[in-house]
Symmetry: C2
Subunit: 154 residues, 2 copies
DNA sequence: GTACAAGTTGAAGTTAACTTCAAGTCAATG
DNA sequence: CATTGACTTGAAGTTAACTTCAACTTGTAC
């Protein structure tokens, strides 16, 4: 089955302009052309585009994704490099998730903070609250926000 | 304790240009000025800057962060709005973490894929491998990449 | 009081990843 | 074979969040 750029865009739920842009940037060396010069996507190209989407979500720049695609086009001699790149990116994403969890912890503290303040009708009490009155799961986050040093695990 | 923009930048490990930019954009209405017009940061401003950093990591735009800061400056009447904003952002971050985990799953599949291909010296076998020979934890991800419909839990 | 590092401002430049536009071509339909 | 909607291209425009620059001022150290 062959698809025009518009059909492929609909399948992947993205604008045609993005597909054309990716092609222009060299990310889609696998798309063929009709006699009249139109892009013809194959079914298996969907998988490539989904991989591109994954790498993008992982935070890779288009130029780096391009290099990955070029490696893949080069064939089996690049398998090891591709593995390295994917493994590095996996570690990257794991680090990002860790960072996001830290951000989440801070937001949860702030949510508790404003929930408490809302009950009081004022931030006065919660702002100056001593640690003993604060749920333990927030101790770490609050200390970091305030710049206090806190007991390190050791 | 008072700090100049340079001292504060060092404390927060960010360029002075960013602090000045944030100030220009109205994110730092709390910084005072010396007689000669220099920004004087207080210790408690560090906390505000860390909160701004948290909201930025959470994916908020500077204009929205500005609105939050303005609310905080307005005082206790805005507690409820601030709570709503933080709670919404917390949900946002939870969704982002979920999405990141999906991306991670795809990368892990790809890592297995290229590890297998590397052992074979070719992608041929793994590319056409039937599901039975693939570790079950990758079935879902591979099916989504290929666009296959897979058994939904129901 | 002079040097000089560090501060100030407004304006312009940068970057990535698109999007929009204009002018023209292709292909399916009746 | 004419219409029309979807396609083509290169070029220019957009956006957010900064960074850099130039010209000038402030504050501290000697």
């Amino acid at each position: 089955m062959l698809y025009t750029v518009g059909e492929m865009a609909k399948k992947l739920d993205m604008p045609t302009s993005t597909l054309r842009y990716y092609d222009k940037e060299g990310l889609l060396p696998f798309v063929e052309r009709s006699g009249g010069g139109m892009r013809m996507f194959r079914d298996e190209d969907i998988e490539w585009l989904k991989v591109i989407g994954c790498l993008k979500k992982a935070g890779m720049k288009l130029t780096d994704i391009k290099r990955f695609i070029e490696m893949a086009m080069a064939g089996d001699e690049t398998i090891s490099q591709r593995l390295d790149l994917i493994a590095a990116q996996r570690k990257e994403v794991e680090a990002q998730i860790q960072a996001m969890n830290q951000t989440l912890a801070t937001l949860k503290f702030k949510e508790w903070y404003y929930t408490t303040a809302k009950q009081d009708g004022s931030t006065d009490r919660v702002r100056n609250m001593p640690s003993e009155q604060i749920p333990p799961e927030f101790w770490q986050v609050r200390a970091e926000l305030k710049g206090d040093t806190v007991n390190q695990s050791k």
